[in-house]
Symmetry: C2
Subunit: 159 residues, 2 copies
């Protein structure tokens, strides 16, 4: 472990795990921003690329954020020509979202910037150490899903 | 490692590290929400508790989010009696934020909910394994800070 790097920003010892995760999340956003990839937009673009035609409401549910925030981000991306909003034929008050060609062209750039960030984050670690870090984070992601779902179902005994 | 738990929500194998971190961050917010602790508010409350009198602009910079989002959250918390906005005597257009007694009373509740989440997330792990998980996340948090700062300074060679 390259100690001289991790010592640059020594964190207070009492930050809870949730706070550390939130910090990494924010720092990831800042780092993407320096690659001209807007933190408020790239998660939506990746999701729209995987699920073309998703509704605004489903997008809000997917990210567990409020509908107003999604509406503002969608409007900005529409103004920037990255996506189109199409009324759902079955329900005209519901909008389906599709990336434009310009929006789709951002996907490989976002993925490359993400890989670059990950390489910087794990630099100096051996292949085995990287594998361990990724396995730990995947385990936490899966468990955090289980906990959130279990609580939403009101089944706290299951945790 | 309790495999029967992690298998509840098997994630696709190709999610980048940044995406996994973002997912844990969101699931943490959902879990806090089920404890009647609003995901959009508790990080602000904890920060205000540690830095009473912080300005709205500094709060936005601290969380790397836009000023409009902070302004909306602050207005909502003010309406709910959790904080006060006081004009800065040195610059009347700048507002300093302070928790009310009611806001301060939420701090131990937030910390308890955070500890409860962390316990659920790491349940079934030995003390040593928990220590390793926390050390890994702290290492990533510190490195992610270094990367973001280095990029903001335009010093990519340093990574």
């Amino acid at each position: 472990m390259p100690d001289e790097r991790t010592s640059h920003h020594a964190l207070p010892p009492d930050i809870p795990l949730g706070g550390l995760i939130s910090m990494i999340h924010r720092m990831h956003g800042i780092s993407m921003n320096t690659r001209a990839i807007l933190p408020g937009q790239f998660p939506f673009i990746l999701t729209l690329s995987k699920r073309p035609g998703i509704t605004q409401d489903d997008l809000a549910a997917h990210f567990s954020i409020d509908k107003g925030t999604v509406a503002r981000a969608v409007r900005r991306m529409e103004e920037n020509g990255l996506l189109t909003r199409t009324p759902d034929p079955e329900n005209r008050r519901r909008f389906r979202l599709f990336l434009t060609e310009e929006g789709e062209a951002l996907v490989p750039k976002i993925l490359a910037a993400d890989r670059e960030w990950e390489d910087a984050l794990l630099s100096g670690l051996s292949g085995e150490e990287r594998g361990e870090v990724l396995a730990t984070i995947r385990m936490l992601a899966e468990r955090s899903h289980d906990i959130a779902r279990s609580r939403e179902e009101g089944d706290d005994a299951g945790i």
